[in-house]
Amino acid sequence: MEEEGKVEEKKEKEVMEVSLQAGHLLLENGAEISRVEETMERIRTHYGVCSGSAFVLSNGIFTTVGGGNESFFAKVEHIPVSGTHLDRVAAVNQLSREIEEGKYTVQEVARRLEEIKDMPGKTKLMQVLASGCGSAAFCCLFGGTAADSAVAFGAGVALYLYVLFVSGPHFSKIVANIGGGALVTILCSTMYGWGAGQHLNDMVIGSIMPLIPGVAFTNAIRDIANGDYISGFVRMLDALLIFFSIAIGMGVGFSVHGWLAGGIPL
């Protein structure tokens, strides 16, 4: 009898660890709060842990189980926002569907989650090229010519090199985005001054796009709409902060370039 109790206890702990790990992966890689809560609950109930509950914030998960004839277990995990990998979100989502179909034991789920955690991201080269292509495409979208797009491509590449190697590892968000905005603006203005491209505005708008906090913004709105106000407002604050930092950076860029070139050339 006691032996059985021990086994139960161990199993509950495993289930809670697994559900926490799944929640961690989702939250870290850009899922909404309600999805994190739902997935954790699904995993718990599927493996028969009924007294568990989880409280999810934008950068942490608090989870407990216990009461009735289930043993107590509690864990708090701090989850710093690290970047968006939607492929991991999709993979965890798929896994949780498969769990509901009863395909996995708890140990197998733990192993699958480890695999998802180690999923290779896109290489840095790919990211830099994607940023360049995105910048060029958006420059064209807003009415830029082919020459403008070429400049935007260069600026987008330079911007992402800066994001990956300079601002990402070393700067805080505010400084990083001010720097990024300034870098793009100065680069585009200088190229424009040298006669490359016809529309300075389209070039800057296109190449600033990779900095725009689209994930934070959309997730903030969805969290607020779902009633997760705390996380929603934190994410909205994050998005607004980045928007303002980019704007300040662009302002700094214009001023510096104007100061270097003597008067703003527009």
């Binding site: 939607l86 798929q94 064209c140 979208l141 725009i212 994930v215 709105i221």
Partner: protein, 149 residues
């Protein structure tokens, strides 16, 4: 116009790569981003910019949810990159430009317009996510419909 839509598709795909969207969903992301812009441009000729933003957002979110149901994955994957062409990046640029060049009137006006467009996007997202999941049943793959009688 066609060129712009192609550019919107290319831009959306490039950004979905940055966000780590699985490769098999790139075409979906591209089509959704292109569709958003294809609605935005004609709409902005007839209506104000924020009404056009709203209409385009509604289309993007609706298609994202449909694609999510079809592929059985989170709609976030499609909508985050699909929404990008509509984001008022130009509004931010002009606001800053007018601020730096000391044209405060213009700056306030463009800033206000950008905020209105952002609010329209917010409303679009909120409203379409209120639609019940049942509406998207048509998007479910045939195979699944057979399995669940």
């Amino acid at each position: 116009m066609i060129l712009q839509i192609v550019a919107a598709m290319a831009g959306t795909v490039a950004f979905s790569l940055l966000f780590g969207v699985p490769r098999k969903y790139y075409p979906w992301c591209g089509v959704i981003g292109g569709a958003g812009w294809a609605v935005y441009v004609p709409a902005s000729h007839h209506w104000s910019a924020y009404a056009a933003s709203f209409a385009a957002t509604v289309v993007v979110i609706f298609l994202s949810r449909a694609a999510a149901v079809r592929n059985r994955c989170p709609s976030t994957i499609f909508l985050i990159s699909g929404i990008f062409p509509i984001v008022p990046g130009a509004g931010i640029y002009w606001t800053v430009y007018y601020l730096v060049t000391e044209q405060l009137r213009q700056a306030v006006y463009t800033g206000y317009e950008a905020v209105k467009a952002a609010v329209a996007i917010v409303l679009g997202i909120v409203f379409v996510f209120e639609l019940p999941q049942g509406i998207f049943r048509w998007a479910v793959k045939r195979k699944k419909a057979v399995k669940e009688p």
